[in-house]
């Protein structure tokens, strides 16, 4: 199982020398035939996309994709499951088409990274050497920052459902079991966090469900931010026109404690009792970034990278993409795929000894549903400029209201981006 990078080069060189038997050896030619190895950790929107495009643009590169989960569960559209518009099956996808691209998929967890020797160690005991490493672990939810959270979560009383999966299904079940007239409490963490519009979209889709099934029920949204953090006009218009009197929005109100037995959420200002508690704690870059020493911003929570290549500013040969990156770019699945493509292109160039694109361009498109038939979006193109980072282009922005056409586009977007990531 263990092959060090040095051994790997030796084996490759031996193979090349064998092929050239009988003639003078050419060191240059030998070096070229040694295949570079890129290890990608995390097969979400960012990681799977990066692995795929690395193989597409660098067919001589060996790519290993390490992911503990058997299946891909999409965070985008998971609020639709919570609102009863879709099922878990709709957002759950297999990884079985990725090997067609020549990606070696390893179902395992990374438990150590030696950035000097350039080797990752896995839970199942493998040591995997890399020439370049791409970390795409998504976020860690800091359940330790809310008193009583871990006990309440373990008891199944309080969920965040901020990583699509079992908690998404559990939250849906809790809402279905809630009697009409109950209170649903959702909290949004203080920025930066994954998917800024998601708390407000979730409030809309749960309100839409209540309107259909439990019309006497209410929603309290405790926001750790001073104001609606994304698509403000869209959500305000929805709350006013579609859900008047249903959503009680309370800014600057981050919970510091939960009590799963008494079903109480506490902030600096008040104790709020609810029938279903969906408290979303603060977040940070995934733990594997810490293993690589790449959680390197001043708070040691997020990763700073060279934004033209997404290589860590402090750990050479380690690239970080997706929600773990601290920048002005939105923490969305779509942005993660755009970062993944720029990173794949940069790594292909670097491994070939060429200069990566000095002025990459990145796009984000993010739809939010406000009901069972209407949606709005935010869309931006960002152009990288040396010394400035990513500059948002002038026409970027969001829709002030939701409509049926964008609800259809949102579904088309999901089908195509899932295919772009996994097919």
């Amino acid at each position: 199982m263990t092959t060090s990078r040095r051994d790997f080069l030796k084996i490759s060189s031996a193979g090349a020398a064998f092929a050239l038997t009988g003639c003078a050896t050419r060191p240059g030619a030998l070096a070229m035939t040694a295949r570079a190895h890129v290890v990608v950790v995390g097969a979400g929107f960012g990681g799977a996309t990066c692995a795929k495009y690395l193989r597409q643009w660098g067919p001589n590169i060996e790519v290993t994709l390490i992911e503990p989960n058997e299946r891909f569960v999409s965070c985008p559209i998971s609020n639709w499951v919570i609102g009863g518009l879709r099922t878990m099956d709709d957002i759950t996808h297999r990884y079985d088409r990725l090997p067609r691209h020549g990606i070696k998929r390893v179902q395992d967890s990374v438990i150590g990274i030696d950035t000097d020797r350039r080797v990752v160690k896995t839970r199942n005991g493998a040591s995997i050497a890399y020439d370049r490493l791409v970390l795409a672990p998504g976020i860690d939810i800091r359940t330790d920052t809310v008193r009583g959270y871990q006990e309440a979560e373990a008891a199944g009383k309080v969920v965040h459902a901020w990583k699509a999966g079992p908690q998404t299904a559990l939250l849906r079940k809790q809402l279905e079991a809630m009697p009409d007239g109950g209170v649903f409490v959702i909290s949004a963490p203080t920025a930066p966090y994954r998917c800024p519009p998601a708390p407000y979209e979730r409030a809309c889709l749960v309100a839409s469900y209540f309107k259909r099934a439990k019309p006497r029920s209410k929603i309290i949204l405790l926001d750790g931010n001073p104001d609606i953090a994304s698509k403000k006009a869209l959500f305000q218009s929805a709350w006013k026109e579609l859900y008047a009197g249903m959503i009680d929005y309370r800014p600057n109100n981050a919970p510091f404690a939960v009590d799963g037995d008494r079903m109480i959420v506490s902030s600096d200002f008040e104790d709020v009792t609810g029938a279903v508690l969906n408290v979303v704690p603060r977040q940070r870059a995934g733990e594997v970034c810490n293993l690589a020493g790449a959680r390197n911003d001043s708070s040691q929570a997020w990763c700073l990278v060279n934004l033209a290549t997404f290589e860590s500013t402090t750990v050479p040969y380690v690239h970080v993409i997706g929600d773990s990156v601290l920048s002005n770019l939105p923490k969305s699945g779509h942005t993660a795929t755009s970062m993944a493509k720029i990173t794949a292109g940069a790594i292909v160039e670097l491994l070939a000894g060429r200069q990566p694109d000095p002025a990459p361009v990145l796009a984000n498109t993010c739809y939010s549903a406000i009901s069972d038939s209407r949606a709005g979006y935010i869309a931006n193109v960002f152009r990288y400029e040396a010394g400035k980072g990513y500059v948002s282009q002038p026409e970027g922005g969001s829709t002030p209201t939701g409509d049926e056409r964008n609800f259809k586009f949102a579904q088309a977007w999901a089908r195509n981006i899932w295919a772009d990531v996994l097919d």
Partner: protein, 101 residues
């Protein structure tokens, strides 16, 4: 034996050449792939509601992008995207998608 390895060296040389062609093209490959997030991998859409881009005539692509950017063509989201790219990038993407089968 030597003939074989000579062939291999010629092959490697060709590989280097094609690599060099790739290098000038990486910016275009990445921005074209960025379109595919919504319009489908390899320019093939999985949704009848979203147009695919593979095999689109270059002039059709160019005209559409310029009209989206100017606002002459009504669209939900495309003005915001089209305004972010240069004419040179449109031309490079048009050629790229036209060649995709």
């Amino acid at each position: 034996m030597c003939k074989t390895s000579l062939k291999m060296l010629v092959g490697l040389f060709m590989l280097v050449l094609s690599g060099a062609v790739h290098a000038t093209d990486m910016h275009t490959q990445v921005i074209a792939a960025t379109c595919m997030a919504c319009h489908g991998p390899d320019g093939k859409s999985r949704s009848a509601f979203m147009p695919g881009l593979a095999g689109l005539e270059a002039s059709v692509f160019m005209q559409a992008m310029q009209e989206f950017r100017s606002g002459a063509r009504e669209a939900s989201i495309m003005k915001r995207h089209a305004a972010g790219y240069t004419n040179a990038e449109f031309e490079a993407m048009a050629a790229y998608f036209a060649a995709l089968k």
